[in-house]
């Protein structure tokens, strides 16, 4: 079977992500921005699929597109859109924005020009059929400690949220 991970699809999804990204910051309506962000996340999941990482793609769809973004929308929808549309953009930090953009752009150009030696020329793709198992053995074997630290951080965040939300514990 011919591989589907052709350059055409990469450019397609990259274009979708770029257009979505521009829409996120230019849309006046916050809900439209959030929807554009969902499109970006789905396109990103497709790129993970092209990189032979189906598990990451599935987790991306479940966690970001299906979970976190719904909560985002949830909050945004309770904001009165009419008022926020009329309000002027009050956050004007042009200098910082330009500095950050040029720094990032310069980094990208530098990597594009001299990046041939930084990245490995060719990586054997992990066989798709046991990708999930490979991820599991890495997470629960080699990187067990980092994984547990990350889950501890999440636990701290949950406890913090409960403490802040509840008046009497």
């Amino acid at each position: 079977m011919a591989p589907v991970a052709t350059p055409f699809f990469f450019y397609l999804f990259a274009a979708i992500m770029l257009i979505g990204g521009i829409l996120v910051i230019t849309c006046k309506n916050a809900v439209h921005s959030a929807l554009a962000l969902i499109v970006i996340l789905l396109a990103q999941a497709s790129i993970y699929l092209m990189l032979y990482a189906p598990f990451v793609a599935g987790a991306q769809i479940i966690l970001y597109a299906g979970g976190i973004m719904v909560l985002f929308l949830f909050v945004i929808m309770l904001v009165s859109i009419e008022r926020s549309m009329k309000e002027r953009q009050f956050n004007s930090q042009w200098v910082v924005g330009i500095v950050a953009a040029t720094a990032l752009g310069g980094l990208f150009i530098a990597v594009y020009l001299k990046g041939k030696n930084i990245f490995p020329d060719h990586v054997l793709p992990v066989v798709e059929s046991d990708n999930t198992q490979k991820v599991a053995t890495l997470l629960y074997g080699q990187y067990m400690f980092a994984f547990e630290i990350a889950s501890l951080l999440l636990l701290v965040a949950i406890i913090g949220a409960v403490v802040m939300a509840k008046k009497r514990i």
């Binding site: 769809i61 979970g67 719904v70």
Partner: protein
């Protein structure tokens, strides 16, 4: 021409799903079959739900359009297509237009990985169950968008309720699913699988459906899933999102005509989708019942008769009711129609007795029969349970189902470890 025929025929000898074999033609055929079958199932569900609910409440239900109201769903569909398509003036046009599409897409895309049999699936993915949960969780987005874009109070409240409900029950559902997936890893090399076909094959290899595994752990996990899946599809008794006495119709209040029918279609196909997850994970998917107790070739023979017998039974019901039809000349066409329907069912039943056909059709039959059982349960719940209050719903999700799910997961893991380390070292 010759190459095309060869391409089409090459799949017939491979023991794979069309997706795995990479055969475009058969993949398309399967997609068409699944889509058509699903649409017919939704139409049948529409009629059955009204009929069964009516009989539970000692009414007759639809009786006018066709014999025993059999043509009622078709009449409804025509009515919905002919209705005026209204979009509220203050609505957000694009989002309003996209919402039903997203809900329908999410509900139908899920069926790509549903295993109707070892080879009867459109494709088999390495992340099958993750894909199903992920894509079906996208339907929340459509509901939230529909509620918000309508720019009206009731739909917004309905959408908020439904998203809160779906996000919180997804957690308990996920934990129940994880404990079933854990059971797939109880083989020699200790690697489990997320693929839908692989999960059923694990149950086949362990000679046990996961609902009976580590009794009562499998049963409890199944129970958690069975409750969460009703909440996930916004059906009674968890239908707060469209509670008609409080919110008119919830998130789809402002929708009419064809757009509304898309929501309807999506709701029912989502019900079928979650039921098929439950069937695949706990009830052995396409495997026939009693594989251990009633094994051997005579029993295989008897169980292979079931599809045909079922259709003959339906045909017999049709004939019985044909005899009972009123003898007035006004009812002649209806009587002939019902008899004709019975004849068609009987013919299908007879074809299913042919050994070549019955061997191939069995998996699909058992899978569909199990899913149909769940569909009946959905109607039964709607007929019997009163609606939950919202705080009760949240309490149930977070304080009962979630701790239960965690407990079952930990217990399943410990028992599995014990079994591998101590009983069968």
């Amino acid at each position: 021409m010759h190459e095309i025929i060869q391409y089409v025929e090459s799949y017939l000898t491979s023991e794979q799903t069309p997706g795995a074999a990479g055969n475009m033609f058969w993949a398309l055929v399967y997609i068409m079959l699944v889509f058509g079958g699903l649409s017919v199932a939704v139409i049948a569900m529409n009629w059955l739900e009204r009929k069964i609910l009516a009989h539970m409440q000692v009414r007759l239900g639809p009786m006018r359009v066709g014999p025993h109201g059999l043509l009622q769903p078709i009449a409804d569909a025509i009515k919905l297509l002919l209705k005026e398509d209204i979009m509220p003036a203050e609505a957000d046009g694009l989002v309003f237009w996209m919402a039903p599409l997203i809900v329908v897409l999410a509900a139908f895309t899920v069926f790509v990985v549903v295993p109707f049999g070892p080879t009867h699936a459109i494709t088999d993915m390495n992340i099958g169950i993750l894909f199903m949960l992920g894509v079906s969780s996208l339907s929340v987005l459509g509901i939230v968008m529909a509620g918000w874009a309508s720019n009206s109070h009731y739909p917004l409240i309905g959408a908020l309720r439904s998203s809160a409900q779906m996000v919180s029950y997804e957690v308990a559902m996920g934990l129940a699913v994880v404990s079933a997936i854990l059971m797939t890893s109880l083989n020699k090399d200790g690697t489990g699988t997320l693929s839908m076909i692989g999960i059923v094959q694990a149950q086949l290899a362990q000679h046990e459906w996961f609902i009976f595994k580590f009794f009562p752990l499998g049963l409890v996990a199944f129970f958690i899933f069975a409750v969460a899946m009703v909440a996930e599809t916004n059906r009674a008794p968890f239908d707060l999102a469209e509670a008609e006495s409080e919110l008119t119709a919830g998130f789809h209040t402002e929708y009419s005509g064809f757009r509304w029918s898309l929501f309807f279609l999506a709701e029912y196909s989502a019900m079928i989708a979650v039921s098929s997850i439950a069937v695949t994970l706990w009830l052995g998917g396409w495997l026939r019942p009693f594989p251990n107790m009633l094994s051997g070739s005579p029993w295989d023979q008897i169980f292979s008769m079931f599809p045909g017998v079922t259709f003959l039974f339906f045909a017999a019901i049709c004939f019985f009711n044909t005899v009972r039809m009123p003898k007035h000349p006004l009812f002649r066409i209806q009587t002939i129609g019902l008899a004709g329907f019975g004849v068609v069912l009987a013919l299908i039943g007879l074809v299913l007795f042919v050994p070549d056909v019955s061997v191939r059709i069995q998996d699909i039959f058992w899978f569909s029969a199990k899913v149909a059982g769940f569909m009946y349960l959905y109607i039964w719940y709607r007929g019997t349970f009163p609606r939950y209050r919202f705080d009760q719903l949240m309490q149930m999700g977070w304080k009962v189902l979630l701790p239960m799910g965690l407990g079952v997961l930990i217990l399943t893991a410990s028992v599995a470890l014990l079994q591998q380390k101590i009983w069968h070292p």
